[in-house]
């Protein structure tokens, strides 16, 4: 089968890092959303970034993908800095946001085409590339339908195809399977594993479905209250917490309290005090 994303030599330096994050911090006023985190993602790896609501996952993704500037710390994506080489970095990744980001009033094909033009994909290969990717996510026969007629799962598939159109080296997936039925979820992960295995695409994902992370991710980092509380393979995390599945390991590491996404300043204060007392 023809590779979906052609990336040449990536397999040869599998062991080097494609994402490096050192002492990354983001503050919103007094509130520390991301607190001095460091981690690496290797070329060709599927890396899962897990954490309860409001833990700092999306803030971290936003900093990695150039839309938010860090308060301090260093990030490199494929050797380039998202703060200093914005456009270079933007070409290296594709992203599927947590919320839909398609234009509902345009057709599926137009959404793909507009993306191709924005990313400067060579006009000569653009049409063939769009067809290949839309066939891959099984939407080619619906190419002329307006996106507003699509179901949630179809929109997600289109977003994945779109995110791959400009040959990214890294694909960011921010809770890609939220609200989808098990069939569609299963399909999506099949696509993603296929891209990863065949083409060496690096995947950085967040999800709340622990069994999905356990199944697909090579390595996992768990973030809570802006800090990384553990990282390693699923097996390592389970061993570390003496648990038999990732969900238990996750609950063990992050506690059983429910979280509020947009916590009030009082909540921030409370949790900060709790952390100081070591009462996790």
């Amino acid at each position: 089968m023809v590779p979906i994303v052609t990336m040449g030599t990536i397999k040869t330096h599998m062991d080097s890092n494609i994402i490096e994050v050192k002492n990354l911090t983001k503050k919103f006023g007094e509130f520390v959303a991301v607190d001095d985190i460091s981690f690496d993602v290797k070329h060709g790896e599927i890396f899962a970034f897990l954490g309860p609501n409001g833990a700092g996952k999306s803030t971290t993704i936003k900093m990695l993908t150039t839309v938010l500037h860090p308060t301090s710390g260093h990030i490199t994506l494929d050797g380039k800095s998202p703060t200093h080489n914005e456009d270079e970095v933007r070409k290296t990744f594709g992203i599927v946001f947590q919320d839909p980001s398609l234009d509902d009033e345009l057709t599926a094909y137009e959404n793909m085409y507009f993306h191709g033009v924005l990313y400067g994909v060579d006009k000569k290969i653009l049409k063939a590339k769009i067809q290949q990717l839309m066939e891959f996510v099984e939407l080619w026969n619906r190419k002329d339908s307006l996106v507003k007629e699509f179901s949630g799962g179809m929109k997600r598939r289109l977003e994945i195809a779109r995110g791959l159109l400009h040959h990214p080296k890294i694909l960011f997936l921010d809770e890609p399977t939220i609200g989808l039925d098990p069939q569609t979820r299963n399909h999506l992960w099949t696509y993603i594993e296929q891209l990863n295995k065949q083409d060496g695409l690096t995947v950085f994902l967040t999800t709340h479905y622990m069994e999905e992370a356990e199944k697909v991710a090579n390595r996992i980092a768990i973030i809570d209250h802006g800090q990384i509380v553990a990282q390693g393979t699923s097996a390592e995390l389970k061993a570390q917490t003496n648990t038999t599945n990732l969900e238990d390991a996750f609950l063990n590491l992050t506690g059983r309290d429910m979280r509020v996404e947009d916590a009030s300043s009082l909540d921030h204060m409370r949790s900060a005090m709790q952390r100081r007392r070591g009462g996790r």
Partner: protein, 251 residues
Amino acid sequence: MSTIYIMWLRQIKRYLRSKSRIIGSLGQPILYLFALGYGLGQVFASAGQGNYIQFLAPGIIAMSVLFTSMFNGVEMIWDRQFGFLKETMVAPVSRFNIMFGRVLGGATVATMQGLLVFVLSFAAGFRLHIHHAFWLLLLGLVFTFLIALLFTTLGTAIASMLTDFQGFQLIMSFVVMPTYFLSGAIFPLTNLPKVMSIITKIDPLTYGVDGLRGTLIAANHFPLHLDVLILVVLSLILLALGSYLFSLIEI
């Protein structure tokens, strides 16, 4: 260049696909043309001001361009809420080009809307002079586009500062409606009370309406080159301000 084009194209496609929006936004100008035109026509004529429909039509064209372009600018809030803005924000292209393409698209759409109202005004009894010069009509089109450009940019600049629809009604009440009513779109600028005269001179739409009146019925209050100059300079200032505000957007 291709970024500007694709963002422009997007606005055009969206406009042409929303038939209900096109037809819906013609309702108001038609109502104004007929209700005001025939309601106040007698008073206007007996005050020695001539045919009110002739006077009113350029004002109503300017009004529909104002409404459409402000709406197109402010529509960016929808993009932010429904996510498409994010797609453009992570693309490796300059934010100015994204904003400028969007503004040009919105302005083109508003110009088309203005042309539709121009055609409809004939149904209300508006007539061009039989020897009307063609270049004046073209200049009228330029004025229509300048009004559209100015207010699409203003709408986009305002939308860059808003994150939800809550502010939309505020913009309608405190920006769009005053701009329309205080522009001389529905009344002559001569013999106004002092305060009113000053306010109309501050209102940018005044110069757009005046330009259209000059090119369509040869009844401008200010010199046409002054109208063009003011509209162009204001558009450029707003474009600079708007692209600055747009560059600050975080998603």
